[in-house]
Assembly symmetry: C2
Homo-oligomer: 225 residues x 2
């Protein structure tokens, strides 16, 4: 792993130094960047660890590590054996400004359309919008909540409308066809809460049997089935 092992204190000092050194050259962009990163960092901690939105294990699916109380999942089916055409999972989440800044940092997609209000105001959209790929990530999040261990084989995406920052969107994945080799074709859409489709497309996934649950999970399962 190439991660820098410097302490948080060192990072703050390095940040302050970098901030001062660069302030004359690119002060405006760095100022925006600084406040963006600070806000993203603050929200990362508060979103993740605040008692009202603590991550927790989802009870029904051992393939999911954790969820948050502000995320919504609706599943029509619980086991791979029962999965058939028409079954679906809906996953709903807000796409926040800090999500957009974090995505720019992890993907390298620093398109100013997503990060710079002044630049974005002069584009055809007239405002900053969410990265299409970030919004499409909710499709993968919904797929992951199908029963079994999901392997993503392909995805076609039509980006039909821009997604405003701060919008709650929901991804729906619906089994359209069962294919050979434990594969399934699914219709995949992302919609805003008023039902407007922002992304349309389809996915092919392979569904493996999930690894055997651990002992305590086994005990849980024996009481519910």
């Amino acid at each position: 792993m190439a991660s820098d092992q410097s302490s948080m204190t060192d990072s703050f000092e390095g940040m302050a130094t970098a901030w001062i050194e660069s302030s004359t050259a690119v002060s405006k962009n760095m100022a925006q960047m600084y406040s963006n990163i600070a806000a993203a960092n603050r929200e990362l901690w508060s979103q993740t660890m605040a008692p009202a939105d603590s991550p927790s294990r989802e009870s029904g699916d051992d393939s999911i590590a954790y969820s948050k109380s502000s995320w919504t999942t609706v599943q029509s089916v619980d086991t791979v054996a029962e999965l058939e055409v028409g079954d679906e999972v809906v996953f709903r989440k807000e796409l926040t400004d800090s999500d957009v800044h974090a995505f720019a940092n992890i993907s390298g997609d620093t398109n100013r359309l997503h990060l710079d209000d002044e630049f974005a105001s002069d584009t055809r959209f007239g405002r900053r919008i969410v990265h299409g790929t970030l919004a499409s990530g909710l499709i993968s999040s919904a797929l992951a909540r199908l029963p079994g261990m999901i392997v993503y084989l392909s995805q076609d995406l039509d980006f039909e409308r821009p997604v405003d920052i701060g919008t709650t969107v929901e991804a729906t994945v619906r089994v359209a066809e069962t294919l050979d080799g434990d594969r399934y074709r699914l219709d995949t859409t992302v919609q805003t809460e008023d039902g407007t489709t922002v992304i349309d497309g389809e996915a092919i996934v392979l569904i493996d049997t999930p690894p055997a649950p651990e002992t305590d999970a086994d005990a849980d399962a024996s009481t519910t089935e």
Copy 2:
């Protein structure tokens, strides 16, 4: 914006409280989560603000807000007027463990295949792998570095091989066809450094004239053209 306005100190206190309250119930998952988030947070600061990898404006393209010294971009063309079939942009970046955890948090895709070593060791991959959607984000990052203001219209993706965490991958977008309405069809691939294709597909983009640069950018342009 739905962001929590609590101070960093409050977040740390809230985190400590949540940590203690939940430790008996789901201690193992929370412990992994806690260390993951702490590591991701540390790296977010150090990656973004360390002097060796300070973000900076890319000189050649006003549609990009900033870049980092560890990111590599190679462009065959500088202006929309010159853009033709065969032109390409290559964008290269490491996909780190903290990138994977950050993507899980912002997309909601907490598939244990990406987050849980023990779970992943029993899957067909035998190890944790990078989210396909995160790796595909580098295609969007490369597209954003084409000249002009890029609007993402569609993307087809075949996830051909898993991407190991900590791998440096490069996305290549190459103009395959010019279409009417300022649209272009591009071949899009993501490869590891040894040339193995991990994602293959194609994109359709619309390229608008970028907003007029600001006054200081105008001055820069006049000295270089």
